[in-house]
């Protein structure tokens, strides 16, 4: 059975889609090459070998925490749904499946990255190199299975109706740690940066490397250093045995979770928790067509499982970042959480057209609906993310009296305008098509991977947020520049989006019906 599943996975790899996989492979190999080059520099004394421990910790962290930061992204290539109908024992099937999980881009690039350990061991002779090869295998084994187990646990949580909240919380924690987790460390090493003093207290950096080497992601590194330095068999074999033991336990845990998932019938939509229908929305200075869309959008942001996770995580992230920053010597940076909230809001609204899926047909066949829909989406985004971000920056400025307050408020205004205008445009240009809206019931279902769009909008909105602070001068200058920038962005972008929607709308619908975005690219090429 394992051989059949391997063959199936290879065939699935061969038949694509290849874009995302090829991108991951190339990026991963480039990063792995950098780590190997770093190891080579370390043995020649150009850099400290502690940097390799840092790199391996970050790499391992991606395996462990990546599934938590992207809880709705299902990494499995062989769908559990295909296997559920076969008259096979679920445990046996899960065990066979577990070996196919070793086949993939992730294990390959991780193996490449960890070969830096062999480079580190080289000065210690053949015995050290042999120990390093064993350490690479054991470390890869542990990383794969802890990562897969974390992903399976997250998937299990997400199948529950309440899964929307844990998914949002885990995403928010991961994002907050990614964006603000470095602040306490930086504030510890650069305690007087707020006063303009950028002197680094270098003596404080040493213990950090020791802590990283003691983590499971550093056990292979520790074993290799011990082998190279001739520290005896104990310090070499003990971490390797620990890696393998933890790896086996993780694999067993994954098999148990997968067997459980295979036994469970597919979930269907149920109306066990009735929805309280909303009332019609009347907004001042808003045509009824736009008000109807705003009302639909507000309901959808609350009730759609994918959008619900995004909405919650976009707001929880800055709210978690704030206390992380507040309890350091860098409290002057707190108002910057406002523009950060606008950036997160833009990132989570990057795929709304694809999430609404084939419901686009209604807009395409209703006279004047495309323009009303865009304006309604923008107004709803402004209500949910844009205006609260500006208010958050202003409140935190008032509370901290930070010298960066004016720049933060200006940044929030500019970022809110950029996010409001750019998110629908990129949602149209770079749709990540997943399960259609009518078939999405719980947050764990694949809803399209919008990483490409998010990585595009992130620098755009971030740059727009920085501009008022950089060119505005005093606080009123920053705010003035931000308002002018916002007017320009909101004046130009929506017209472009509507025109694109009118030209590419039917192509987008076809892409979502067939789940093939290549149709859109072909249409764009024909247009040009």
């Amino acid at each position: 059975m394992t051989r059949t599943l391997f063959a199936l996975k290879l065939r699935l790899f061969r038949n694509g889609p290849h874009n995302e996989r090829a991108f991951s492979l190339v990026t991963g190999l480039v990063l792995a090459a950098l780590v190997i080059a770093g190891a080579s520099s370390a043995i020649h004394g150009v850099i400290g070998e502690g940097w390799i421990a840092v790199a391996l910790t970050v790499w391992g962290g991606v395996w462990l925490f990546g599934p938590l930061a992207q809880p709705r992204h299902d990494p499995s290539v062989i769908s559990r749904e295909w296997l559920r109908g076969y008259p096979l024992r679920s445990w046996r099937l899960a065990r066979a499946l577990s070996w196919t999980e070793l086949l993939g881009v992730g294990p390959l690039i991780t193996m490449a990255c960890l070969s830096s350990l062999v480079v580190l061991a080289a000065p210690g002779g053949m015995a050290a190199v042999a120990a390093a090869v064993a350490a690479v295998v054991a470390q890869v084994y542990l990383l794969i299975w802890t990562g897969k187990t974390v992903a399976a646990l997250a998937a299990w949580l997400l199948r529950t109706r309440a899964g929307m909240t844990p998914a949002a919380v885990q995403t928010a924690i991961m994002l907050a740690l990614s964006f603000a987790g470095w602040v306490p460390l930086a504030a510890w090493l650069l305690p007087r940066l707020g006063e303009g003093d950028s002197a680094l207290i270098a003596a404080r950096a040493g213990p950090v490397i020791d802590v990283l080497a003691a983590l499971p992601t550093g056990w292979g590194y520790g074993a290799v250093l011990a082998a190279r330095d001739g520290a005896g068999t104990g310090p070499v074999l003990l971490p390797l045995a620990a890696l393998l033991t933890l790896g086996v336990l993780s694999q067993l845990c994954w098999i148990a979770l997968t067997a459980r998932a295979l036994r469970r019938p597919p979930r269907r939509a149920s109306s066990r928790r009735p929805t309280v229908p909303g009332r019609g929305l009347s907004l001042p200075f808003t045509p009824p067509q736009v008000a109807a869309v705003v009302s639909r959008e507000l309901a959808t942001w609350r009730r759609d499982p994918a959008r619900g996770v995004e909405l919650r995580s976009a707001w929880l992230t800055p709210l978690l970042m704030a206390p992380i920053i507040a309890f350091t010597d860098w409290s002057w940076a707190l108002p910057l959480v406002g523009p950060a909230a606008a950036v997160f809001g833009a990132m989570v609204a990057i795929n709304t057209y694809a999430l609404d899926g084939t419901a686009l047909w209604q807009l395409l066949t209703t006279p004047g609906a495309l323009k009303a829909d865009l304006h309604g989406r923008m107004a709803a985004w402004a209500l949910l993310f844009g205006l609260p971000s500006i208010a958050l920056a202003a409140v935190l400025w008032a509370v901290t009296g930070s010298p960066l307050g004016g720049a933060a408020v200006g940044g929030a205004i500019a970022a809110a305008a950029a996010g409001c205008a750019a998110a629908p445009l990129l949602a149209l240009v770079m749709p990540a098509v997943g399960t259609d809206a009518r078939d999405r019931i719980y947050p764990g279902q694949p809803a399209g991977d919008p990483t490409g769009g998010q990585m595009t909008i992130f620098p755009v909105v971030l740059l727009t947020a920085i501009l008022p602070g950089v060119i505005g001068g005093p606080w009123w200058g920053s705010v003035l520049v931000a308002v002018l920038l916002a007017a320009a962005v909101l004046g130009v972008t929506p017209a472009l989006t509507v025109r694109l929607l009118q030209r590419r709308g039917t192509g987008l619908l076809e892409a979502m019906t067939t789940r093939d975005t290549a149709i859109l690219r072909a249409a764009a090429r024909t247009e040009s």
Binding site: S271, P287, V293, A299, D304, A359, T365, A369, R438
Partner: protein, 251 residues
């Protein structure tokens, strides 16, 4: 309700290609106003492709489509304003309830307050008023067809285009949909529907087109197309059905 001189839908030389596949091949149809019109054909005949192009949901490779005299390419907004559409297998704003989606649709079309009474009637007649707190995503197939029909009728269009409205729904739901459609045609509206249910088409439609391989094989009043036999027999005769050899392993 509609100028009887103008065809409700006029399709001229419609061609639709998907790469090397020719889904619709220079198809021409003129559907008169105020009739119940059926389009039948085997799977993959090009029915849905033709209807999607006819509703402006697909850009045809070539050909011309007019809705109540308005060219879909050059006068799109006016053409679309004549249509009520019910497509099979596509989503709706799924996180709204039945009432909410009708309110949303009325707002999107800028309808006057009369929509409220019409929405109430449609929800009641189609039996959807019994589930006011259920989201569309939680609807059964039959309920989904009904809310689609309510959406298509809410703005009182001149022409209703329905893609397989009776597939996979129970006889009771089918009966209520059939009654609503009959009332609509009696009031002067035009219904164009695709279906595999020959009995329904024979019973209700005044005209029928048999489509296969992207072409019209026969078109006209139902009694002329059937030529004395049933529509089902005539359909099999026109489209052709290969004999099925006996499978010994099934015995």
């Amino acid at each position: 309700m509609q100028d009887p001189c103008l065809p409700a839908i006029e399709v001229a030389d419609l061609t639709q290609r998907f790469g090397a596949v020719l889904a619709v091949d220079r198809l021409s149809l003129s559907i008169p106003a105020g009739v119940f019109y059926g389009i039948v054909g085997p799977n993959g005949a090009g029915k849905t492709t033709m209807l999607m192009a006819g509703c402006g949901l697909r850009e045809p490779t070539s050909g011309c489509i007019k809705i109540a005299g308005h060219d879909l390419r050059t006068d799109r907004e006016a053409a679309l304003a004549q249509l009520g559409i019910m497509m099979d297998g596509l989503s709706l704003p799924e996180r709204l309830t039945g009432t909410e989606i009708l309110r949303y649709s009325a707002g999107l079309r800028g309808l006057d307050d009369g929509w409220r009474a019409r929405a109430g009637d449609l929800l009641e007649i189609l039996g959807l008023d019994a589930v006011p707190r259920t989201l569309i995503v939680e609807y059964s197939t039959g309920m989904r067809k009904k809310i689609n029909l309510a959406l298509a009728l809410l703005h009182r269009p001149r022409v209703l285009v329905l893609d397989e409205p009776f597939e996979a729904i129970d006889p009771v739901s089918a009966h209520s949909i059939e009654q609503v459609l009959r009332q609509y045609v009696d009031g002067g509206g035009t219904v164009v529907l695709s279906s595999h249910i020959m009995d329904f088409v024979e019973r209700n439609c005044r005209r029928v087109a048999v489509v296969a391989g992207g072409r019209v094989l026969a078109e006209g009043p139902v009694e002329e197309v059937t030529a004395g036999s049933t529509l089902n027999e005539r359909f099999v005769e026109l489209v052709g059905a290969d004999p099925v050899r006996p499978l010994e392993w099934l015995a």
